[in-house]
């Protein structure tokens, strides 16, 4: 489903070279739930953003369903509609109602009729548990509700993969659960998911595989049982001691 080969992303900030993603080779299979963890600044968000081309790659390749994002001829907009993304800051469109948030891209990108798009939008709002909020504006929703709308918005495009960039980090603790619940349900339905998160409980319970990143490198990779109980690398052990 997603293959990255020697993926590299280098930022130059005031003559300082930052190797945010430094040669990562992974293969994420269809239906797999992969959780990426690591200390802050380890490049996990940048890695995730490379997967849908939000960050242009410095070197290496990202293949999504066989299409290479590094190829200049690739139509990024076509790739992105197959790859849903959920952001830490929700990034809902504040000038549109909840339903409009879900409908807009369906109509403009997928060229669906308004009727069809609204039907799909309402079904998804139902799925994430806030059908009654469709005519509210995002500012009238709680953080947890906003993030659930953001998940529904991404799902409305019928993506093959969902990317989650620290979806619960900006939420009040009591709202984390409702968002994780929606994500767990998605995982049970067989959605291919790549999740950057600090929620170790979620990683343990839902992930098929855990990637541990530090300084832009893939340090350790394995099943949650393996990673959380007997990590091999020193840095992974140190990190786990600090967060658990």
């Amino acid at each position: 489903m997603i293959k990255t080969v020697d993926l590299e992303k280098i930022f130059v900030v005031r003559d300082q070279v930052v190797r945010a993603v430094d040669g990562i080779t992974t293969h994420i299979k269809s239906g797999e739930v992969v959780v990426v963890i690591g200390p802050s600044g380890s490049g996990k968000s940048t890695y995730l953003r490379c997967l849908n081309g939000l960050e242009p790659l410095t070197a290496g390749h990202v293949h999504i369903d066989g299409i290479d994002l590094a190829n200049r001829k690739t139509d990024m907009n076509k790739v992105r509609r197959e790859v849903g993304m959920v952001f830490q800051q929700f990034n809902l469109f504040p000038h549109k109602t909840v339903l409009e948030n879900l409908v807009l891209a369906q109509m403009k990108v997928r060229k669906r009729s308004r009727k069809e798009a609204e039907k799909k939008g309402r079904a998804l709002l139902d799925k994430v548990g806030i059908p009654e909020k469709e005519s509210n504006y995002p500012s009238q929703l709680s953080g947890g509700q906003q993030q659930r709308v953001a998940i529904a918005r991404a799902l409305a495009m019928d993506p093959k993969v969902m990317l989650f960039d620290e979806p619960t980090s900006a939420l009040d603790p009591e709202m984390v659960g409702e968002v994780l619940e929606v994500m767990k349900q998605l995982a049970r339905e067989g959605m291919t998911m790549v999740v950057v998160t600090h929620e170790m409980g979620f990683a343990r319970e839902v992930a098929d595989r855990v990637l541990f990143m530090d300084y832009g490198k893939l340090v350790e990779e394995g099943t949650p049982e393996h990673f959380f109980t007997e990590p091999q690398e020193e840095r992974a052990k140190l990190f786990l001691r600090q967060v658990l």
Binding site: N52, L54, N77, K78, R80, R81, V83, G84, M85, F87, Q89, N91, L92, F93, P94, H95, K96, T97, L104, A105, K108, V109, R110, Y137, P138, S139, A150, R153, A154, M157
Partner: protein, 320 residues
Amino acid sequence: MNSYLKNWLWRSLTILVLLGIVAGLWIATKRIDYTWRWNRVPQYFAYHSEDIKTVDFDGLITKIDKKGDLTTVTVKNAISGETSSFIIDTETANVSVDEYLMEGDTVGSTREWKAGPLAHGLWVTLWISAVASVIGLVIGVVTGLCRVSQNLTLRQLSITYIEIIRGTPLLVQLFIFYFFLGTVLNIGRLPSGIFALGIFAGAYVAEIIRAGIQSIPKGQMEAARSLGMNVPQAMIYIILPQAFKRTLPPLAGQFISLIKDSSLVSVIAITDLTKSGREVITSTFAVFEIWFVVAFLYLILTFSLSQVVAWIERRLAVSD
């Protein structure tokens, strides 16, 4: 002392100070023996014009048909035998059936209200400003988008335009548009004036739009792109509507400025409100009255615009 009473006292003081200034001005004009003639002003807004209908042949009145305010008088040409009809106001009709009219005699007249120079000037100022605003908005949005574009040429061209227009006086630009471009491209004074105003406003609008676009969080563009929208779609549906809402107050200020700046087109002999005012003064010598009236008319225009904008702002505030 409670705060309401305190405010009430301060309010009274404001009114008192304003009245004091007005009284001072009034006393000052008394001392230079200026006679205020406000009664001369209204006729320059609207006046009753009389159109006198005369016969251009000798003939006999065959019929007078009164229908309410209008009367149709039918006159038969004494030589050719043809009949002609004249429609006049009933109250001006002082002819009777079988009366013989000589060439040049009056049948009656029609009266109607006509717009005076001040009303006409107000209208010209209004539509010139409106057209220039639309031009300025279109140029401003396009230039603002170029200003934040990835393309270096577009960016540099837009910066050049903005710097040139903002760095030279509007009056000079008007002269260049009228005397240079007007001559070279063979366009009249009205298009020259309107384009000069529109292009002038466009430079300022562009900077306002750029600031608006840049004030929208990066996440909005990223969210739009992650849904598969291309850059134009993300701009049109996501970024610009939000930027427009944020920039509405400075945009309103810019268009209010445009209405006021439009008074400068009077220097290339466009009969706008200011030029009309000058023309009326040459025939009345009511210098003080007319300039106060002209100022008041500009104030009505700008105040109406700011009220409309305030209304739009309230409408857009529903998503806050």
